[in-house]
């Protein structure tokens, strides 16, 4: 493709980088995804030194540099919305090469157990979204769960 004309036509080379990868999840994250798939629940492990919950579970506490525990605790799937983003424009999804339209708002959710992460909110009416609202996770049925965070469809608003 080119722009400009005649002797000043400037060319470009366009292509799609297409590279396959296989990522090993490791024993801790594998266990996390299995618990999600088989039992429909979120788990975390802990740091024996600072005591914080590690989510997702991991082998080392990044702050204390010590090995984390191999005991997993189940987390309650209820929490509070810290912030939300409405994804107005589709974004380029690097795992598919296609534009990814996001129907649902994204939120940073702080679970009651104290861990936080990003997920979807069921409520799409902007007027009803606010920081501080209470939500709970809606899990897919067992047959549909794949061992991925999308095994939780979204977090729905919990009426007070």
């Amino acid at each position: 493709m080119g722009e400009g004309n005649g002797s000043e036509e400037l060319l470009a080379v366009s292509y799609t980088l297409d590279l396959p990868f296989r990522y090993a999840a490791g024993p801790f994250l594998s266990r996390f995804y299995r618990e999600l798939k088989e039992k429909g629940r979120l788990v975390a492990n802990t740091c024996p030194q600072c005591g914080r919950l590690l989510f997702p579970p991991m082998i080392v506490c990044g702050r204390c540099h010590v090995r984390a525990t191999e005991e997993f605790v189940e987390l309650s799937a209820t929490g509070t919305v810290l912030d939300y983003t409405v994804v107005l424009q589709p974004i380029q999804d690097p795992t598919t090469g296609k534009m990814r339209e996001e129907r649902y708002p994204h939120a940073t959710i702080l679970l009651d157990d104290g861990v936080s992460f990003t997920h979807r909110l069921k409520e799409t009416d902007l007027a009803k979204l606010r920081a501080g609202m209470r939500v709970e996770g809606v899990f897919r049925d067992q047959g549909e769960r794949q061992g991925h965070m999308t095994d939780i469809l979204y977090f729905r608003t919990v009426e007070d």
Partner: protein, 384 residues
């Protein structure tokens, strides 16, 4: 530290949205030649090179290998560094450390981004953990919006205060020949620009730019010999958090505060606006600039909006911040954090031309910021 070090040359491109006339290597070459001219050195004088960008943004792996002719690194020792938004600062800091080590006398660092050639969104998403993050991560807009909301709630600040800083940045950019966005903004323009997520508006956020920046750093003895205006690098600090800080809640104590406390303590800085004359800070949004004045201790907690109202941080103000126009005006990511240092150095030298601050500059601060709340701070001085 083995050696004291100084910046003896600074170069950058005219940052812009569209550069079809150069490829990536030629873009870097422009900044390198500008820095060599500024330092009055030849490429033969350079002992080591450091280069970097956000690789995935142009799909350009191993760029240090195929940029050799353009950056003049043929047969020279050195490395590529890529650390997200702080890449430019990490490059500069590595150059300081190379020269301070006593192993190299003159070190060239170049950061660049030919950002239009890729897809910034895809690059940001792919930068998150492949096993955990990529399915949902889009950007950190939500966190910026939350911290902005919390800031207003905590301090009584209004949207107008962030807009004041955006207008200030634009006024400075209009006087900086290298800046990308020069929009002649009014308060109305900013407050009417498209809402992204409340209260963040389109004009509050930084652009996507093509650009490169280069620094030439020398060890003390060499700097004194070859430069009549060496900018002394008094100190630098890097602090960063875990990746979770972008996928979840921000920690209570931010890396900005930890870095600032350490830098100020080591350099006997007790009253920032008195002890430092100008600051070039890495602000991904005008709301970030507002909140981070407090995290960097430019003022008391809860008072930053007052600085905006009084014009304290304007170019002619008591404590100018981002006389270059800042990141909201110019953001070629691999270069951006280095541009902060380059611009701070120009202020110390009195060479910033139409965007030189009115206050006399003996001490300047340059900060960098990026993913996982990565903070860098560099302190520059006219004399040691």
């Amino acid at each position: 530290m083995a050696n004291r070090v100084a910046i003896v040359g600074v170069g950058q491109t005219h940052h812009t949205a569209h550069r079809p006339d150069v490829n990536q290597v030629e873009l870097m070459n422009e900044a390198v030649r500008a820095a060599l001219r500024d330092a009055d050195l030849s490429i033969k004088d350079v002992d080591a090179f450091l280069m970097g960008n956000m690789e995935l943004f142009e799909g350009s792996y191993l760029v240090d290998m195929w940029a050799v002719d353009g950056i003049g690194s043929y047969m020279k020792p050195g490395a590529k560094i890529t650390s997200g938004g702080t890449t430019g600062a990490s490059l500069a800091i590595a150059a300081f450390e190379y020269a301070a080590s006593g192993l190299f006398d003159i070190v060239l660092a170049v950061g660049f981004e030919k950002q239009e050639e890729g897809n910034t969104q895809a690059g940001i998403v792919a930068g998150s953990d492949p096993l955990w993050g990529r399915w949902i991560f889009t950007s950190s807009l939500g966190i910026f919006a939350r911290t902005a909301l919390e800031y207003m709630r905590r301090t009584g600040a209004r949207e107008e205060h962030a807009a004041m800083l955006r207008v200030k940045a634009d006024r400075c950019a209009c006087r900086n020949p290298y800046a990308h966005l020069k929009l002649n903004l009014t308060m109305e323009d900013v407050l009417n620009s498209r809402m992204l997520v409340y209260p963040l508006r389109f004009l509050d956020m930084c652009p996507v730019s093509n650009g490169a920046c280069a620094l030439i750093v020398a060890s003390e003895a060499v700097a004194r010999r070859i430069s009549d205006k060496p900018v002394w690098v008094a100190d630098w600090v890097t602090v960063h958090d875990l990746e979770g800080s972008l996928m979840g809640a921000m920690p209570d104590v931010r890396t900005h505060e930890i870095a600032a406390a350490e830098l100020y303590k080591r350099n006997q800085i007790t009253d920032v606006r008195r002890d430092i004359d100008v600051a070039e800070i890495y602000e991904p949004s005008s709301w970030g600039e507002l909140e981070w004045y407090e995290l960097y201790h430019f003022c008391e907690r809860g008072e930053a909006w007052k600085l905006a109202e009084k014009g304290t941080t304007d170019m002619e103000g008591e404590f100018p911040v981002n006389p270059s126009g800042g990141v909201v005006s110019t953001n070629p990511i691999g270069a951006t954090a280095m541009i902060r240092i380059a611009e701070a150095a120009l202020q110390v030298r009195g060479d910033a031309g139409t965007h030189q601050v009115t206050r006399e500059v003996r001490t300047a601060l340059a900060t960098g910021w990026g993913g996982s709340d990565w903070t860098t701070m560099v302190l520059l001085k006219k004399s040691l």
